[in-house]
Assembly symmetry: C2
């Protein structure tokens, strides 16, 4: 091949400029300069104008860096890997591959969560709680009460995830009983009554007899490992906001009816809306 006369400098002829290298490999010019600065990619020779001129090996080096970087490998580690030689690199490839494998399924999970953003409740709350809230609605409980329950359970679950779930099982079992559903709705309506309303007496009677029947068997009493004052305070402060004089009176009456049933009283607390 005969040398042809042209304007290119002999040593830099055919060599790529930083822009050509960047476009071919698919990275930005600034990224390449950054890799030089970090020592990831060796500085190439300059041409007469002070421009960097790259040969074919730089293309392959940069492709390696790009591939590892896109795989989520930090630049500092890429530096080590490339310096350590192929045997070290081969070992890490397995590890990096496994990390990528894990990444494959994550976007799928996120997609479902994103889709559920609009009615966030169903997607973000534990399924047991979602089911419980649906059961409350099905039982005719008004939406405001459902929201109050929801928020109470969220707080409870945040602080005592394990215990709250066990507790929830009992609540759902209660709710399966038509008698309890009637009582629950009754409490909801009673909130607006006069504290002197005679119907409160009836409700308290009904609740007391329900509790006695329900917790006849000791095994049915939920095992609370949480210190009671904390839970009581949590619940009272939360539901306290919506407590009406009628409901306070109702709880007093129910408590009286349950005198002599110490264990039952404990079981009642979380149950009363």
């Amino acid at each position: 091949v005969t040398r042809q006369p042209d304007k290119l400098e002999p040593r830099s002829a055919g060599m790529l400029t930083i822009g050509q290298l960047a476009e071919y490999v698919g990275v930005t010019v600034r990224a390449i300069r950054h890799y030089h600065q970090r020592g990831l990619l060796g500085e190439p020779a300059r041409d007469a104008s002070g421009y960097r001129r790259y040969g074919a090996p730089a293309v392959l080096d940069l492709l390696r860096i790009k591939t590892l970087s896109e795989a989520g490998v930090p630049l500092a580690r890429i530096d080590e890997l490339l310096a350590a030689g192929p045997e070290q690199l081969a070992a890490s490839v397995t590890e990096i591959g496994a990390a990528l494998q894990r990444q494959i399924r994550e976007p799928q999970l996120r997609r479902r969560r994103i889709a559920g953003l609009v009615d966030g409740e169903r997607m973000f709350l534990p399924p047991e709680l979602v089911a419980f809230l649906d059961e409350l609605r099905a039982a005719g409980v008004n939406e405001h009460t459902v929201q109050v329950e929801r928020d109470g359970w969220i707080l409870l679950m945040a602080r005592y995830p394990q215990q709250a779930l066990e507790w929830l099982v009992h609540k759902r079992a209660d709710l399966a009983d038509p008698e309890f559903r009637r009582l629950y709705r009754g409490y909801g309506e009673a909130a607006d009554w006069d504290p002197a309303d005679p119907r409160l007496e009836q409700l308290a009677d009904a609740m007391a007899s329900y509790v006695v029947r329900r917790y006849r068997n000791e095994d049915d009493i939920p095992d609370m490992k949480i210190d009671d004052p904390t839970v009581a305070a949590l619940l009272s402060s939360h539901f306290g906001d919506t407590t009406s004089p009628a409901l306070e009176r109702l709880n007093e009456l129910t408590k009286e009816k349950l005198q002599g049933h110490q264990s039952h009283q404990q079981a009642l607390d979380p149950g009363s809306p």
Copy 2:
């Protein structure tokens, strides 16, 4: 429910601390503070000690932020989305979902590329070039010459991706001819000969007659849209490094033999190793 005496402040009882919120939702405490600073998450009320106290709505808000953030949505856009209300959010969910869909296949591609890091050549170079290099090796071309060819083609492809591919098709067609393969190997060996070696004359004869035969048909002449001086300079500078006095003499001889076949001479240039 009766208020029980306890140490918790009435207004903050049951409310979550920033640490509890962070652990339950699965983000760092610092991330939550960052979201407050960015205005993404409203600052909650403080308790008597100046600690932030969070209610259930904050749990759901933070879960929404976390979900969107993990999906790759920038915090600035999350802010807009949450402020815009559910109808705007629903519209964006489709778009974000599509972006995630695209992300699902990427790690799989990257996994294959990572696996190929060790013998980078096969994974990073265009398959046509990899095939060509394999054909060279199969033809008995020595590894050094293969590397020189490889680097030359990489540079060529980086600068003229389309043209280089067309050109490569012709080179591979040449290499399919046993005659050309012999010639190619001959050039490889001739590099070490004395420029006065009489065998050069024979080789030049053989190459000239091959070129005349090969490019008898005008359609077979590759259509070079690249300005010749540039390409010639590119190739000469690249292969010039390895050019021996014998090869220079060989090229001169071949050129002489081809006098009067102007078009053939052009076809020869890229063909000579």
